[in-house]
Amino acid sequence: MQSLSARLMLAVSLLLLVFFGVTVYVLDVSFGSAAREAVRERLDVHALALLSAAELDSDSSLTLPEPIPESHFQNPGSGLFGSITRQGGEAIWRSPSLIGNDIAFPLTVKTGERLFARKMADDGVEVFALSLGIEWQLDGSDNLPLVVNVAESMSAFNAQVQRFRRQLLSWFAGLMVLLLAAQALLLGWVLAPLRRAESEVRAIEQGQRSTLGDNYPRELQGLTRHTNILLDTERARAERYKDTLGNLAHSIKTPLAVIRNAIFEHPNEGGQAPLIDIQVSRIQTILDYQLKRAAASQGSLSVRAIDVRDALDELLATLRKVHDKPALKVETDIQEELQFLGDRGDFLEILGNVLDNAFKWSRSRIRVSARHSTGKIGHGKAMLLTVEDDGPGIPDEQREFVLARGARTDEQVDGHGIGLSVTLETIKLLGGTLEIGRSSLGGARIALALPAR
C-alpha cells in the first residue's frame, strides 16, 4: 500500500473494529445474563405467589382459588405458565394457560432446590422455566413434598435483548463514524508538513522556488535540510560545469584565433594557409557543436518559469544591435504571461538561433508568435512558438539537411552552421519538436513546440 494516510486509516479502522467488537460482545453477554437473572427472580416471585395462594384441603390435597390472583396464569396467550406436582410428577394443579399445551418440567426437584432452564413448550414456544422443590408441612409431623413450576415465554426477553443490541450497535456505529472522522482530521493535521514538502518539491521541479522552506517539524528537519544541501551542491556543480565548458571554449578558441590570424598575416609561407584555415574551421565547428550540446541542460534543477515576452525582448534588443538592418520590422504576438518551463540558457539558445536565422535571411519583415497549444509535453502544458520571415525560405529538399549536424545552407552568411541542429537537439532533450515550413510572408516558418507553464 503506497499511501501513508491509507495505511493509518486502515490500521486504525481495524483496531477500532476489534475493540468495538469485543466491547459489544462483552456488553451483550453481561446484559443477557442480567436479563436472565431478572427473569429468574420474577419467576421466583410468581412461584412463591402461587404457593401463598394455595390452600390445603381437609383431605390433605392442595387447591388454588378460582380465579387465581395472577391473571396471566388464566390466559392461554399470556406466556406465563404454572403447575404444582407431587415429587414424581403427579399433577396437583395446572394453570389454565397450559390448557392444550405442555412443558416438560422436571419430575422431581430436591427440597429447597431451584432449577432454572430454557425449555421448549409443546406448541414450539421457547420458555424460561423455574422449578422449585418444597415440602408443605401438614398437620402433625407429615410433610407433603411438592414441585412448583413456573415458566415464562422468552419472547419478551428476546425482544428486550434485541432492542438492547440494536441500541448498542447504533451507538457504537455512530461512535465509530465519529472516531474515524476525527482520525481523518488528525491525520490531515499530522501529515500536513509532508504534504507541504511534496508541494514544495513540485514547485522546485517547476522552477517556482529554489529550496524547501523552514519551519518543518523536528522529525522532517533532517530530511529538508539535507535536501536543500543536495540542491545547492547540485546547482553549484552544474554552474561549475558550465563555467568549465566556457573556460574550455575560451582556452582553445583563443589559440585558434591566433593561428588563423597568423596564416592570414603570412599566407604564403609553405602554402598551407587554406588547409590550416579549413582545419581551424573544422575544429571550431566540432568544438561549438559538442560544447553547446554539453551545455544544454539535462536536469530539472535549473528549471524555471521564463517569461517568453521578456526573453524575446532581450534577444530582439541584442539582434537589433548585431544585425545592421534598421528598416527591418519585427511583429510580435505573444500570449499574455506565457512562460517557458525550463533552463533560461536553453530557451535563449533555442529562440536566439531561430531568430538569428530569421534576421539573417529576412528582407523586411519577421513575425514571432507564441501561445499555449492544446498539446502536451510529458505531463505538462505546451506552447507553440513560430518565427516567420519574408526571406527566400528553406526549400523542401533542404529541410532535413538544415537540421543535420553541422550543416549550413549558405556559406555566405556568417554563423557556424550548427545553429539549427543544436537547437533541434536541445528541443528534443526538452521533449519538444521543431518543424520547418513556409510562411505566408514568403519565407521560412519555424514552428517550435516547447514546454510551457
Binding site: N247, A249, I252, V258, F264, D324, G345, L348, N353, D414
Partner: protein, 227 residues
C-alpha cells in the same frame, strides 16, 4: 580613428594592433581589464575591441564601468562563449556587437567599421555628402563619380570628417583620433593634410567641402545625403 584593443593573449593582441594600425587606426592596447578601463577613461576612444575573458577585471565589468561613467563609444566584444545567454549578457552590459573566436580579421574590420558608421548616425556603408562618396568597405572615394586617390592618412582624415559631417571638430580631437599617443603633436601637420585633402577633393575650388572655423577647428560643410 582611435581604437582601444583589450585582449590578454599577447599574440592575438599584437596581431590585432598590427592590423588596425595598417588600416590607419590609432591604437591603444591593454592586456587586462584594469588597464583597458584606464585607457578607455583617459583617451578619446572612437571604438573598443574587448575580449570578454580578461584577467583582473573581466571584459564585461570593464564595459559596464565605462558605460556607467558615460563613455558611449561603440564596443565590439570578442568571445569564445557563444551561447546566446552570453551574447545577450554581453550586449546588456553595454557592448554593441560581438565576434566569436576564432574569427577572421576581415570580420572584425567589417564589424568595427559598421559600428563606427552607425555610432556617427550613418545607416549605410557608403557615406554620402554632397557630391563626395566614401565607401567604408572598399575605402574608395569619389567626387561626382570621379575617383579620388588618397593616402591612408588622408582617407582617415576624410572618413573622420565625413562621419561627423556638420559637426565642428577641433584640432585636438583630430590629432587624438589620427595620431598615436606618443606622436609628436605639431598642429601644423593637421593643417597641411587638410590643405592637401582640399586640393584633391576640390581642385577647381568651387565646392569648398571643408570649412575652417578660426580657433575652433574644422567642419565638413556638405549636407549628408540619404543614400
Amino acid at each position: 580613428m582611435r581604437v582601444l584593443i583589450v585582449e590578454d593573449e599577447t599574440e592575438l593582441r599584437e596581431a590585432l594592433v598590427r592590423r588596425f594600425r595598417n588600416e590607419g587606426f590609432v591604437v591603444d592596447a591593454a592586456g587586462d581589464g584594469e588597464e583597458g578601463l584606464y585607457l578607455g577613461r583617459e583617451f578619446p576612444v572612437d571604438l573598443a575591441v574587448v575580449d570578454l575573458g580578461l584577467p583582473q577585471l573581466s571584459g564585461m565589468d570593464m564595459i559596464r564601468r565605462l558605460r556607467e561613467e558615460g563613455r558611449d563609444f561603440p564596443v565590439l566584444i570578442l568571445t569564445a562563449r557563444d551561447r546566446w545567454q552570453d551574447k545577450v549578457e554581453g550586449l546588456q552590459a553595454g557592448a554593441d556587437d560581438y565576434v566569436t573566436k576564432p574569427f577572421h580579421m576581415e570580420e572584425i574590420f567589417a564589424r568595427a567599421n559598421a559600428l563606427l558608421r552607425r555610432s556617427a548616425g550613418w545607416s549605410q556603408a557608403t557615406l554620402h555628402c554632397g557630391p563626395i562618396k566614401l565607401d567604408t568597405r572598399s575605402q574608395a572615394v569619389t567626387v561626382d563619380e570621379r575617383a579620388v586617390d588618397l593616402t591612408s592618412f588622408e582617407y582617415k582624415l576624410l572618413e573622420y570628417l565625413m562621419l561627423h559631417a556638420g559637426e565642428v571638430i577641433s584640432k585636438t580631437e583630430l590629432t587624438e583620433a589620427l595620431y598615436e599617443q606618443d606622436f609628436d603633436r605639431d598642429s601644423n601637420t593637421i593643417e597641411v593634410f587638410v590643405g592637401r585633402l582640399r586640393r584633391k577633393l576640390d581642385p577647381a575650388r568651387n565646392l569648398k567641402p571643408i570649412e575652417t572655423l578660426r580657433g575652433r577647428g574644422y567642419r565638413l560643410a556638405l549636407e549628408r545625403s540619404a543614400a
